[in-house]
Symmetry: C2
């Protein structure tokens, strides 16, 4: 039985603050983990500044290549929030105040509070579906295969819960994590490479971390076929057991 | 007096684990902040999987466009560590065990510990300069305008301290942060846009965060000319003071 084809995605994180170091991005890792759990594989992520040309170029590079693109950031009420206009340009569609978006914002803002700045958040490219924002109302939107989400993590996360409902999903990646302790990477690297070569339907990674002056390593086996993942895991564990016992790896 | 031209950089973070969500990247934000402090502007970041074609394509896209590219990850001893070979391919140079790298690794490993897997870490593209790794010895390297660093944050950080010594640096960006509290973004957005339009030599950003059910906002003014940054800051503070006093912004 052939494993079903992967459904793929990319993230385009937008914001000068992510590239100045002022804000440490927390959205890419969150989206990666979230999509993985529902069977969508994140294949690439890019961080670009609040620059229309950069956003358009990044979006066009990614949206033709992956099943879905999720953007984060740049949809607030200030002059540096230019994502919606850039997305419209990338898709070569018009953009204007969307009556649906303005109606939603009226639930939160009194008429005198609906400043021109806030109305900017109602600008939505033609042909988009709105993405609900239960936190602060001003919606995100989906156009084609692109989901445009907020940059503030809690708002992004709430929008993502809604956005994924319209995504096609594939088989969920099965992931097995094996603690290699106390065998160091350099000791099991050759044997692990041989196991990886012998199990081409799974992907095997070795991940060191460094704490208190020592490396600790985890070996991760990933694949869409649970039996093949389990088989590779057995091979890794047998290899580690032999090395722990002081034997030379096969 | 004209502000000096910017020195620019991009990060290419390499690793399946960053895209599966297993590991949350902490290197991009660290490098962004670090480079900013020494006068190098991070302009773009990409995360790509452990796939040679993806690494080569990403590297070639970035290295022709920015003054420097820093890569993170994929230079360990296991089969999934393919960064050095991919970098050699991108630069169309040969790659082989480097006697300088092997000599450094002999400081850490006894001869019988220098397994074929560990020797992989001594593979360095022709024409590279080594980057010292004070934590675990196996070096990074610089080839052309590309700095190849480890993925483990503590090791990457130690390598970065060494790597930046060979970078040309520009004027350090002056950054002023203004708390907008209690004025919400939607209230100051229009006035802030006018200030931004009137101060084209600085970049002004507005950054909301959400905590305990409320938004809090910071306005950040950035630029290479301290006087122009200070002037824009004054305009922002005067605008906020007027709004706090309940006046309509000018």
């Amino acid at each position: 039985m052939e494993a079903p084809a992967a459904v793929t995605a990319a993230v385009l994180a937008i914001g000068d603050e992510l590239l100045s170091g002022r804000t440490k991005d927390r959205n890419i890792g969150y989206i990666a983990e979230y999509l993985g759990k529902i069977g969508v594989e994140l294949r690439e992520a890019r961080i670009v500044p609040d620059d229309a040309d950069e956003i358009v170029a990044g979006l066009n590079a990614l949206r033709h290549r992956y099943d879905y693109v999720l953007t984060t950031g740049g949809i607030g009420p200030t002059h540096d929030d230019i994502t919606a206009d850039a997305v419209a340009r990338a898709f070569q569609v018009t953009i204007d105040e969307d009556p649906r978006a303005i109606a939603i914002m009226r639930e939160r803002y009194r008429p005198e509070e609906l400043t021109p700045a806030r109305r900017r958040m109602g600008r939505i490219p033609a042909g988009s579906e709105l993405i609900v924002n239960p936190i602060s109302k001003a919606p995100g939107f989906r156009i084609g295969n692109v989901y445009v989400l907020a940059g503030v993590p809690s708002v992004m996360q709430a929008m993502l819960d809604f956005a994924v409902k319209t995504m096609r999903t594939g088989a969920v990646m099965q992931i097995e994590t094996i603690e290699a302790r106390p065998v160091p990477e350099g000791q099991y690297g050759d044997a692990l490479g041989a196991i990886a070569a012998g199990h081409p339907e799974v992907s095997i990674g070795s991940y060191p971390s460094f704490k208190d002056g020592r490396f600790a390593n985890q070996i991760v086996v990933r694949g869409r076929d649970a039996a093949k993942v389990a088989w590779a895991r057995q091979a890794v564990e047998a290899m580690l057991a032999a090395l722990r016992a002081g034997d030379k790896p096969a």
